[in-house]
């Protein structure tokens, strides 16, 4: 029997072919391992659970974790709320390609560039405040930059394309005849959407949510530049621990908290997503 590529490699050759990739994966997992090990060591390199003890007791870390979950959760929710209509709009549009350019170009533009755009818009002398002032709505500047609102706004903007594309991917694969069948059986457009289209597109929403939540909870650049350091999140605190406080072990312990809290949210979502995809035969 011949392989689809026509390459008749021996088992040894095939093993060699996989080696570079396997090596890269191994390095990655090894690096993650250093975080796990680093989090159970003290600064002298001895085994110690002191950091975890502190994590459980410390008020600051609980606040930090809770704030991260809240910001990431809200970002995910808003992304889903604005992402779904956009995805549905694009899926049914005639000029789908043009609309895709509007989504994909910002998506592929560096996070740092997009964050900079929001600094210009939200700053005290920025676009938004100038607009509000000239319309006479406010006298003083409205503070959005360096507040959690700024962080969420920036994160929604950076991550919304992930949600849109994820939902769009399920919508375009959807069998149109199902919706037509619903209509011909007497359901109105709204009922058809609610009972046919939406449930079938749920896997896209779920995988969009898991990506957005993951990226939002692990973000550093957007929260630092738009939210500032006062309302730190786990990601920004990890960065501070390493570069301002030079404490790799504490950073590792915080990274473990981040890892566990995001996996606790993301893995069930992905599991549900997988189940739904199997059910709908996608």
């Amino acid at each position: 029997m011949i392989a689809p590529s026509g390459l008749s490699a021996s088992p040894l050759a095939r093993l060699l072919l996989v080696t570079p990739k396997a090596l890269l994966v191994a390095i990655f997992l090894f690096a993650i391992g250093t975080v796990v090990v680093g989090s159970v060591r003290d600064n002298d390199g001895n085994f110690s659970l002191a950091l975890y003890d502190e994590l459980v007791r410390s008020n600051t870390i609980q606040i930090l974790t809770w704030r991260t979950v809240k910001v990431a959760g809200l970002t995910t929710l808003i992304c889903a709320l604005i992402g779904y209509p956009i995805a549905a709009f694009i899926a049914n549009a005639r000029r789908r390609n043009l609309l895709l350019v509007l989504v994909i170009s910002p998506w592929l533009t560096s996070v740092i560039v997009r964050t900079f755009g929001w600094i210009v818009i939200l700053g005290n002398r920025g676009l938004l405040n100038n607009l509000l002032r000239s319309l006479g709505i406010t006298d003083g500047p409205v503070r959005i930059l360096f507040t959690p609102t700024g962080t969420i706004l920036g994160l929604v903007h950076v991550l919304a394309p992930f949600m849109i594309i994820s939902i769009l991917a399920t919508l375009v694969r959807l069998d149109r005849r199902l919706a037509e069948a619903g209509m011909s059986l007497g359901a109105g457009p709204f009922e058809t959407f609610l009972r046919v289209t939406f449930p079938l597109s749920l896997p896209g929403v779920l995988s969009g949510c898991s990506i957005v939540y993951l990226l939002a909870s692990g973000a550093i650049v957007t929260p630092i530049l738009l939210g500032g350091l006062r309302d730190a999140m786990l990601g920004t605190q990890i960065f501070q621990e390493i570069f301002a406080l030079y404490n790799f072990h504490r950073a590792s312990a915080l990274a473990m908290v981040l890892l566990v809290t995001s996996l606790v949210v993301v893995i069930p979502i992905q599991w549900l997503d997988g189940r739904l995809r199997k059910l709908s035969g996608a």
């Binding site: 890269l24 990655f28 250093t34 509007l102 170009s105 900079f116 755009g117 594309i165 694969r173 896209g204």
Partner: protein
Amino acid sequence: MRRTLWTTLNWTLLLFLPLPLAVVAAVSISPSRFISFPPTGFSLVWYQQFFASPQWMTALGISTGIAIAASLISTTAAVMAALGLERARASTRGIMETLILAPLIFPHAAIGVAIFGFLASTYYLRGTYWGVCLAHVLLCVPFAYRPVAAAFHKLDRSLAEAAMNMGARPTMILQRITLPMVAPGIVSALLFTFIVSFDEITVTLFLTAPGITTLPLTIYSRLEQNADPVVAAVSTLLVLLTLGLVLLLQQTIGLELFVNTEGDDTARSKS
């Protein structure tokens, strides 16, 4: 009426995405020495300053070099792995693919600490561009593998069989049938990983050391201090570059690629 409202709402939401980029472009052509909107005139002085600055040019060169290396290495490894795994048992392949895609389920801040810790423990890679490059390759692994594996998955065994029956040698089959058929997958892997590496900031931030700089890192450090309009000019150039690539893709392979072949999985690339 409801239809117009729906369309208006969606266009408003859609234009929210390119809005900050347009604002940056407007700032970049303003002659004012401070970041100001709306622009007070038209001038390309900040672009001149960008191209005349050795610091910016170095950063641009380094980012380009790292991105080219990372995309070539990760894509080559992906093609090799896809070839090596094509006849593997489904369970073996499943395990390998889960491992290859593993970087996608870790938050970036945690990956940053991990790679920081790993590189710090090595003698030769610490504080070097090789280290940064390795980090980018590790991040690119899943994005290179996805499109390549999807292309291999779509290969039709009967084509290779037919060619073999007509006397083609394996190398010829590879050259004339397999490679042309998986080429779009390889091209999108190269392009995608290039962009992932070129734009990468969160993990690279952990690898900053004296003498280490990339274009996004330089932008970041300028933003942390006091952003000058040169940053706006650089940013606009990056936006135009991305827009150019996207339009090129639209004309050639088609943007549906992002939505159809892998959709939600490709989506995990950025940020």
